[in-house]
Structures are given as C-alpha cells and as structure tokens.
C-alpha cells in the first residue's frame, strides 16, 4: 500500500498536466458501460494477464462514498461465467485528499496493487482482476481512511435459484415432479440430493422406475419421483453447477396417506347423516301430532255436518257459527 503523500508530494506541480494527457489518451478505451469515464490507463503488467483472458467479457462496477456515509455501501454482483472485472471506488471529501489512506481488500485479506487518482475533491481508486474459479468469488472492498473507515464492498455471487417456499403435498402411490428453474442463467449441470437425516445424499438415478431426471431447457431441471411412499417425504435439494460455484434450492416434499382427508370427509358425512335423521324424525313427529289432532277435528266436523244436514236450509246462519265454534 502506498500512502497518498508519497505519490503526490514531489510530483505535485506536474501532476495536473500529466492527468490531462492521460485523460486525452485514455478516453476512447474506457467507454464500456460506465457513464462517468474514469481517468485511468491500464498498467503494463496487468495488460499481459488481460491478454490471456481477452476472450472473456469485461465488467465494470462503481461505488461512490462520502466521508459522511454512516453505513458501509455494498453492491451485489451476480456472475455466471469467468470474466474480467474492473472495480472503481470514488471518495468525496471536503478535507485533504492526500491524507486519506486507501486499501483494497478481499475478505479482510489485503490486496497488492492499487491505483489512485484525485481530481478536485474526488479520489478515484481502481482494482482490476479476472475471476476464473470459485475461489476468486467473494467480497472485494475498497477502504478509505484509517481511523474513520469508509468501506465500499462488491459481493460476487453465482446466480441464485428462486423457488416456491410452499411444501409439495402428495399422496402415497402418486407421482410428483420436483422442478428447479434458473431465471436468466444457464448452469453447466444440475444434481439432485435428498436428505438422510441432516446429510445430503445424492439421488440414486439408477433406479429408473423410481426416479427420472430430465429438463426441457438448459435453465431448468425436473426430478420425477414415482410410486411415492411415506419414506420419500422430507427435503430435496437441487444444485445448479456453474464454473464459478454452485447454488442450491430446497424443496420440501410431504407425503400423506389417504386417511388424512378421509377422516375429515367421514366426519362431515357423519354430521350430515345425523342432521338428516334428526330433521326427518322431527318431521314425522310433527306430522303424527298433526294427524292425531286433525283426526279429532275431522271427526267432530263430520258429526256436526251430519247434524246440520238434517236441519235444512233455513238454519244457514246458525250452522256457520256452530262450525266455527267447533272447528276452533
């Protein structure tokens, strides 16, 4: 790590001129995906390593910090394939730029090279490297200052698999398809694991009548499990293998026996039978009661009519009144 004063001290008067020349030279070659062109050129050592990986894509990422930021600034970057990386941090401060200490770290391990520049009140620092294997993935941070640290972190991760959180429910003897899909990424390979206690065990694909793995596209995989039994329940993991690492997804499988909903169904059926029996019994009871009282009424009405018939037509009015009295 070179402290800023060492770089800036004796060459101070010449630096602005040098900067301008560098700017003019570097402008065209630094136009990849970065809105504010950073005033750097690539040093010769780096260029050699870059030439080896020149067929890889270049990704640039930028973090801005001020001296008043309370929280560390983080940027999550999803990386699927090996590529060249350029990380740029810029630090704005009102104080003296020369006194600011700049370091680059990977997971708290201090990194070697370090390129700085200052224009006005903004301090730029850049770190370029290539990621080709999973060991190079992780968190890279630029740290400004010693006492009061301002840190900007770039987190490199492989693409994550987003899946359903709800468990899959199936019945004994049924077959189920477990699906894993990656949104915008294309893994090299997929593998499936099932759980045996707390250990992940690979799924035995040799058993063709039990497990079938296939996938329509490169970005999804399906595991079909047939003839489900109670032992098949538990957690399943699908691993997506990339050049730069692995990501996994967890799927929960629940296997029920038919008795579970059957019990609920039988409970409802029993309730229905009970209610129907009660209602029909009530109906028969009220009908019998009505019939008894009606038979009595009918008998009296018939008797009354017989009596009234023999009287004749003149007793029209009294007949009506008598009937009403008897009927009620």
């Amino acid at each position: 790590m070179r402290a800023l004063p060492g770089l800036m001290g004796p060459r101070a008067p010449l630096l602005p001129l040098l900067l301008l020349c560098l700017l003019a030279a570097a402008r065209p070659s630094l136009a990849d995906g970065h809105p504010s062109a950073s005033p750097f050129t690539t040093p010769p050592v780096r260029e050699e390593t870059m030439a080896k990986y020149s067929n890889l894509s270049l990704e640039s990422h930028n973090i801005s910090l001020t001296e008043h930021s309370n929280m560390p600034v983080e940027k999550n970057i999803t990386l699927e394939r090996p590529s060249n990386i350029k990380l740029i941090c810029q630090f704005t401060t009102s104080g003296d730029l020369n006194s600011v200490n700049v370091t680059w770290r990977k997971d708290d391990e201090i990194l070697e090279t370090n390129y700085l520049n200052a224009t006005g009140s903004i301090l730029y620092t850049q770190y370029m490297f290539t990621i080709v294997n999973s060991k190079q993935m992780g968190s890279y941070s630029c740290v400004f200052g010693e006492k009061k640290e301002q840190r900007g972190t770039f987190n490199f991760k492989v693409p994550e698999l987003h899946g359903k959180n709800k468990p899959l429910i199936n019945y004994v003897g049924d077959s189920v398809v477990l699906k894993c899909k990656c949104q915008d990424c294309f893994p090299l390979n997929w593998t499936w694991y099932s759980s045996n206690g707390s250990v992940q065990v690979p799924v035995d694909v040799q058993m063709n009548d039990k497990y079938v793995i296939n996938g329509k596209n490169a970005n999804e995989t399906r595991l079909k499990i047939m003839q489900l039994s109670e032992e098949d329940r538990g957690s399943y993991w699908c691993h997506a293998i990339f050049q730069l690492g692995e990501s996994e997804e967890h799927i929960e499988l629940v296997v029920l026996s038919y008795l579970v909903p059957l019990k609920a169904f039988l409970a409802i059926a029993a309730e229905v039978v009970l209610l129907v029996a009660i209602i029909l019994l009530c109906e028969m009871y009220t009908q019998k009661k009505k019939e008894h009282s009606d038979d009595g009424k009918e008998f009296e009405q018939i008797e009354q009519l017989k009596l009234d018939d023999s009287n004749g037509i003149e007793n029209n009015a009294p007949r009506h009144r008598k009937n009403e009295a008897v009927g009620q």
């Binding site: 709800k166 899959l168 429910i169 199936n170 019945y171 049924d174 029920l256 579970v260 909903p261 059957l262 609920a264 169904f265 039988l266 409970a267 409802i268 059926a269 229905v272 209610l275 129907v276 209602i279 029909l280 109906e283 009505k290 009606d294 009424k297 009918e298």
Partner: protein, 486 residues
C-alpha cells in the same frame, strides 16, 4: 282423500317453518353456485398436475355451469314426480359422488366427466326445486325470503374461496376435492328440510285431471278408430306433462322467456371482462381485484335489501316493474361503462351494477311466480334457468371475440347494454299491452250487459276474458285463482 286435503291445505305461512326453508335454500345456493365458482381455484393445480394449458382446464367450469342450467327442467320434473325432499337429496348425493370421484382422477377427461357432468347434474336436481319451495312458503314476504336465499351465492363465494385455498394448501387438490365432496353432501340436509306443503291452489289438481279426461273422451268421438287409440295413449302419457308445462303456452311466460334470454346474454360478460377492461384503462391489479370484491359484496346487499324493499306495501303490487327497472338500469350502466376510464369512476359503477344485479336475481323467481302461480313454479323455474344456460355459455366468448376484432371493449359492452335494455323494454311493453287489453274488455263487459255491472269485482270480467282467450286460442286448462289478481 278430500278429507286429508281439507285438513292439510293452508295458505303460505310467511314464517314459522318457512324460515327453515329459507335457510335450506340459502345453503343450497352456497353449495351449488358458490362451489361452481370456487372450482376455478383448482385450475392452477390441475394445470401443473396434468400439464395442460388454461383453456383446457377452464372447460371444467363451463361444463358444470352449462349442465346445471341445462338440466334445471329435469330437476323440477324429478321433484314434482317424486318429492322435493327426495329430489334434492338425490341431487346432493350425485354432486357429492361427482366430487369424490374427481379426487381420484388420473386425467383431465376424467375430471370433465366427474367434476363436470356428474356434479353439474347433481346441482341441477337441487337448484330450481329449492327455489320453488321458498315461493310456496311465502307470499307476503316472498321477495325478502328470496333475497336472503339468493344472497347465499355471494356470501358463499366470500367464505369458500379462502377456505378452498387453505384446503388445497393442506391436502393438495385431491384431498381438497374429497373434503369439498363432503361439504356438498350437506345438500342432503337441505333436502330433508324441504317439508312438503299443500296449498289451497293445489286442490284444483284433481279437477284438472278430470278436465283432461273429458277432453280425451271428446277426442275419441271425433277421430277414426285406428288413430284414436294412439291419440288416447299419447294424451294419457303426456297428460301429466301437458299439465305441468301448460304454462309454456301462456303468452306472458313466452315474453318472460325471451326477455330472460336477452338478460342472461347481457349480464354474464361483465364478471369475466371487468378486470381486463379495468387493467386496459390503466387501473392497477389490486384496484381491479377491489372492483370485483365491491361487485360481490354489493351484490349480496342488493339481494337482501331489494327483496325487503319490494315487499313493502307500496311496492308489493309493482314487483314486476321493479324487476324490469333493475334490469334496465343495469343495461344503462353497461352503456356508460366505456366512458368510465379511471378508478374513481369505476367504483360507483361497480356499486350500482352490483346492487341491481343482486336486485333482479332476487326478483326472477318472484316475477315467475306471479305469472305461473305457485303450483307450476318449480317447472317454470326449471325452464327459466334452462334459458339462462345457452346465453351464459355463448356470451363471454362473443364479447371476447368482439374485443379482439374491434380492439376495444366499447362494442362488447354496448351490445350487452342494449341486450339488457331490450329485455326490460320487452317486458314493459308486454305489460302495457296486457293492461290495455284488460281495460278494453272491462269496457266491453260494461257495454254488453248492464246487469253485469253489479258483478264487476273482477270475476265476471275474468269469465268474459276467458271467452275472448278461447277465441284467441290460448290454453285455459289452468284455472288458478291467483292469476287474475295480477
């Protein structure tokens, strides 16, 4: 026989056991209409399990709806010939069997047969007899009773939708269908509640049978020997059916039937196309879902309040007018819909449309009962719901086709609006014509016989009308006293 009739025939109780019938009908509406709508919640599960697309799975819902409505006359025939209780219990068992067999399905075709046809048939056996039963038990508070019964549809969807979702999460779709089959078994409880009641009007049935027999004897004398036996057999067999469906020849009922066709054509697309229309004018997904919820809730409110309202003494005689007013207003709402392009404007639309949608649904059985009387109400309702089937099936796809070809919803909504307005105008026109005819013959009666003026309490005007009707060739087999009071 006459003894029993005299003892048991009553006037509609307007309460007492009638409220149990209303509760039973409410449950029937929940178990049939709400369960039909909730079947669409299973579609996502069916799509993933059977690897089919949405169009294939959506057929299940169409089949259930279609079979329920198309077989509604079958339901009323069964309940007329066996008994309402047996009919509804049979329907409940059938629907429940359909759902239970559906839970064991291994392909989508199995679901079409079990969940679609069998369950739809079971629902058809329950729906119209239950509604007819309510009409028998109520006369003064008929509209309120119907309002409460029909609100089961809206309330049922409200309650069942989250419950079905929960069942699917707990037991997956197979278990959920099994438990839903158990729930639908409650239709048997509703069936048990439907105690038969013989009304005063039903006493005329033995007389009608006698009339038919004398008619067949006339036939015998009139025609030759060979065709005579054939006709006699035909009239014997078709005698009872003829009796039951004699209301089909009534001009009032024919007009009602035609207007129901147009009304059913108009009302169904809104529930399918409101959300896409709202999304197309820039309303967000949540707001569009909110519009549908408002529609559902206000539908329930409209059911009950409009029923209560039209039972008030001031509106009691104008239930028919209230019905066509509700249908006409819904049509007007449709016509205004293409002009409503923002969410604050669509909310009052939802409220108005939902309210009057609930309103006229409550009044359909009331108006039908007014026209045909309570004896034939079951069969008449069967026919009315049968007439709903084809428009329900045909209208949303036609509206969708119009939207696709014209590129906007205006044409589709205007068509539906005019269809509903035509339906209500037709009814209003028919009623006007009928009133004019009545005034005419009352005038004629007064003119022809001055003595008869003393008797014009309606009964003699009725007998003169009967002669006029016979000249016009209308059927007079039904001598329902309630008919002249409209």
């Amino acid at each position: 026989m006459a003894k029993v009739n005299r003892a048991q025939s009553t006037s509609p109780p307007d309460g007492g056991w009638g409220w149990m019938i209303v509760a039973g009908c409410f449950l029937v509406t929940i178990c049939t209409r709400a369960v039909t709508r909730c079947i669409s919640i299973f579609f996502v599960e069916f799509q993933t399990y059977f690897s089919q697309d949405y169009a294939q799975t959506a057929w299940i819902h169409s089949i259930v709806d279609c079979v329920t409505m198309l077989c509604a006359p079958l339901g009323s025939v069964v309940s007329n010939h066996l008994s309402c209780q047996v009919g509804i219990m049979l329907g409940g068992l059938l629907a429940s069997t359909g759902l239970i067999l559906g839970s064991f399905a291994t392909s989508l075709k199995h679901l079409y047969l079990t969940l679609g046809v069998l369950t739809g048939l079971g629902f058809a056996l329950c729906y119209s007899p239950a509604i007819a039963m309510v009409g028998k038990y109520f006369s003064r508070r008929k509209a309120l009773a119907y309002g409460i019964s029909m609100s089961g549809s809206g309330i049922g969807i409200f309650i069942l939708a989250p419950v079905v979702q929960l069942l699917i999460e707990q037991f997956s779709w197979r278990g959920a269908l099994l438990i839903l089959g158990g729930f639908v078994l409650n239709l048997c409880v509703c069936g048990a509640l439907m105690r038969p009641i013989t009304l005063k009007e039903d006493r005329t049935t033995p007389e009608q049978k006698h009339v038919c027999r004398t008619q067949t004897q006339d036939f015998k004398r009139g025609s030759s020997y060979s065709t005579l036996t054939k006709e006699w057999v035909q009239t014997c067999l078709c005698g009872s059916l003829q009796q039951e469906y004699s209301f089909l020849l009534m001009s009032d009922f024919v007009v009602l039937g035609i207007s129901v066709l147009f009304m059913a054509y108009g009302c169904s697309p809104l529930f399918v196309h409101l959300v896409p229309y709202a999304l197309s004018v820039g309303v967000s997904h949540q707001q569009a879902a909110f519009l549908m919820s408002i529609l559902g809730v206000i539908d329930i409110v409209g059911n009950i309040t409009f029923g209560w309202l039209t039972d008030r003494r001031c509106l009691k005689d104008y239930q028919y007018v209230c019905y066509l007013f509700a249908v006409g207003l819904d049509g007007l709402c449709y016509l205004c819909l293409p002009m409503l392009q923002r969410f604050p404007l669509l909310v009052p639309f939802s409220c108005t449309f939902g309210y009057f949608d609930g309103a006229y649904v409550t009044l359909i059985p009331v108006v039908t009962a007014e026209i045909v009387g309570t004896t034939s109400l079951s069969s008449a309702l069967g026919v009315v719901y049968f007439l709903h089937a084809v428009p329900y099936l045909v209208s949303p796809p036609i509206a969708g086709w119009l939207v696709d070809t014209t590129g906007s919803y205006t044409a589709a909504f205007l068509l539906c609006g005019f269809s509903m307005i035509f339906s209500s105008v037709l009814l209003g026109f028919a009623r006007l014509v009928k009133k004019m005819k009545k005034n005419q013959l009352r005038f004629l009666a007064k003119e022809s016989d001055p003595k008869l003026q003393l008797w014009t309490n309606g009964s003699v005007a009725y007998s003169v009308a009967r002669e006029l009707d016979q000249k016009d060739g209308e059927s007079v087999a039904i001598a329902v006293p309630g008919y002249s009071s409209t």
